[in-house]
């Protein structure tokens, strides 16, 4: 395969390109025999696939079977299970930090926490990616996809782009100006990024669904940034910045307050 733009051409066929990139690709297709042949071949493949019945209808009775199974779901054991894990986590964290101080800061958040076990290497990769999100804030020409501090604008934008409604806290009293939002994709999950500016320091607040998340609440350091992670309201939060851990923990408290307020 000689052309290095075949994936772009495919994305064009799949309607995944924005208008500017689509125009550029059309120009490329006019010149590149390989890509235009590929588009034609994939186009007729798609047409042929349209003859295949796309959906198998769910059999009669499956819905009733699921309803019965749901009737049997008892949330109690699950809650007990998580309570035990949280207890184990808090104990482990206290030992790890050699004191209860940091544990207490997070006790509120941890009460509703999902603590998932995970191998160190996976966790390392995810933490690297999270820290990378703040690096992107610093080096990107446009640190935000949507520049606004207006909740009424940001909320529907996040819902559309990352299928999440992160709590959007006004931290201006603490000196943090909300610059805007960005969509991130980390560890196979859609992540909402809220970008705050504090003096000359950027703070990225990353928020994603706790479903299947592998991140544990706690504190970490990557690439010269501090990461403070916590969970609550079915979400995982990670604040990343080069400011002190105490500053980040204070931000965490303010955001939790906003999340609690939004939930009530």
């Amino acid at each position: 395969m000689a052309c290095d733009r075949t994936l772009l051409s495919q994305a064009y066929l799949d309607g995944e390109l924005d208008p500017a990139a689509a125009l550029a690709t059309e120009a490329h297709l006019a010149e590149c025999a390989e890509c235009s042949a590929l588009i034609a071949a994939n186009g007729s493949l798609s047409a042929a696939l349209r003859q295949v019945p796309r959906r198998h209808a769910a059999p009669h009775g499956l819905e009733a079977r699921i309803q019965r199974a749901l009737d049997g779901v008892d949330d109690q054991p699950a809650r007990e299970h998580w309570r035990n894990r949280v207890r184990r986590f808090v104990v482990a964290r206290r030992q790890w930090l050699g004191g209860a101080a940091a544990g207490i800061v997070f006790a509120g958040a941890v009460a509703a926490a999902l603590v998932l076990e995970l191998s160190p290497s996976d966790k390392d990769e995810v933490l690297d990616e999270l820290a990378g999100a703040n690096t992107r804030t610093l080096i990107a020409q446009h640190p935000v996809d949507i520049e606004s501090s207006d909740v009424a604008k940001l909320r529907p934008w996040f819902t559309r782009r990352v299928a999440l409604a992160p709590p959007i806290a006004d931290l201006s009293a603490a000196g943090f100006q909300l610059v805007g939002g960005r969509a991130e994709f980390i560890d196979g999950k859609r992540v909402a990024a809220l970008i705050y500016l504090h003096d000359t320091h950027y703070l990225s607040l990353l928020v994603w669904s706790s479903y299947d998340s592998e991140v544990e609440p706690g504190v970490d350091d990557r690439d010269g940034y501090h990461l403070v992670m916590w969970t609550g309201h079915g979400l995982v939060f990670c604040a990343v910045s080069d400011e002190s851990v105490a500053t980040l923990q204070n931000v965490a408290k303010l955001i939790n307050a906003e999340a609690d307020r939004a939930a009530n």
């Binding site: 003859q51 819905e63 994709f185 079915g234």
Partner: protein, 186 residues
């Protein structure tokens, strides 16, 4: 019925056909597909507190896929290579094509038969799972690259390259079957 259950049913049950369909393409049989979907709805309900979005289908699909893989891993404990090429199923695809062609009595009919949906279905079923799943999600469920990435838990670049390879593989097999059709009738 409590509030959570009601909300869950309103958001998730409309996608039952889609979920079953995906499970059917992944498991390639009815019984396993039903079990996977039931597992998936139970897991989805337990994890529903974590669902914040409007876009239920990719979220549910990701769970269906995980349930399928968990069951599959359990069923094949000790087997070495996951996602290996499924030779048996592939052989089945080719033989179906040959069989259909053999039944044709004139070249045109043979060609139409070799083109038909049954052959393509069999070929899709015979694709390795990593390609089959992205093709189903794209061509049949018409999910965006981003949503497919969510479902399979991989970066968009992986989605793009798997789609490209899956399509190339399917085209090659399709052409091969057509070539055999031509040879058979001449």
């Amino acid at each position: 019925m409590d509030e959570k259950r009601k909300r869950f049913e309103v958001m998730m049950l409309p996608h039952l056909d889609a979920a079953y369909s995906l499970a059917r393409w992944l498991t390639r049989n009815d019984t396993d597909a039903e079990d996977v979907v039931q597992d998936a709805y139970l897991r989805a309900f337990r994890g529903f507190d974590g669902f914040r979005g409007e876009d239920a289908r990719p979220w549910l699909f990701a769970i269906v896929r995980n349930c399928h893989r968990t069951r599959w891993a359990r069923a094949r404990q000790g087997a070495e290579v996951p996602l290996a090429e499924e030779h048996g199923a592939d052989g089945e695809a080719v033989s179906t094509a040959q069989q259909l062609v053999a039944e044709g009595d004139d070249p045109e009919a043979a060609l139409i038969r070799s083109n038909n949906a049954a052959v393509l279905t069999a070929m899709l079923r015979g694709l390795p799972e990593e390609f089959r799943e992205v093709l189903i999600l794209r061509e049949f469920e018409e999910l965006s690259y981003r949503d497919i990435a969510t479902v399979i838990g991989s970066p968009i670049g992986t989605v793009m390259s798997r789609l490209a390879r899956g399509r190339a593989l399917l085209r090659a097999r399709w052409l091969a079957a057509e070539g055999k059709a031509d040879d058979g009738v001449r």
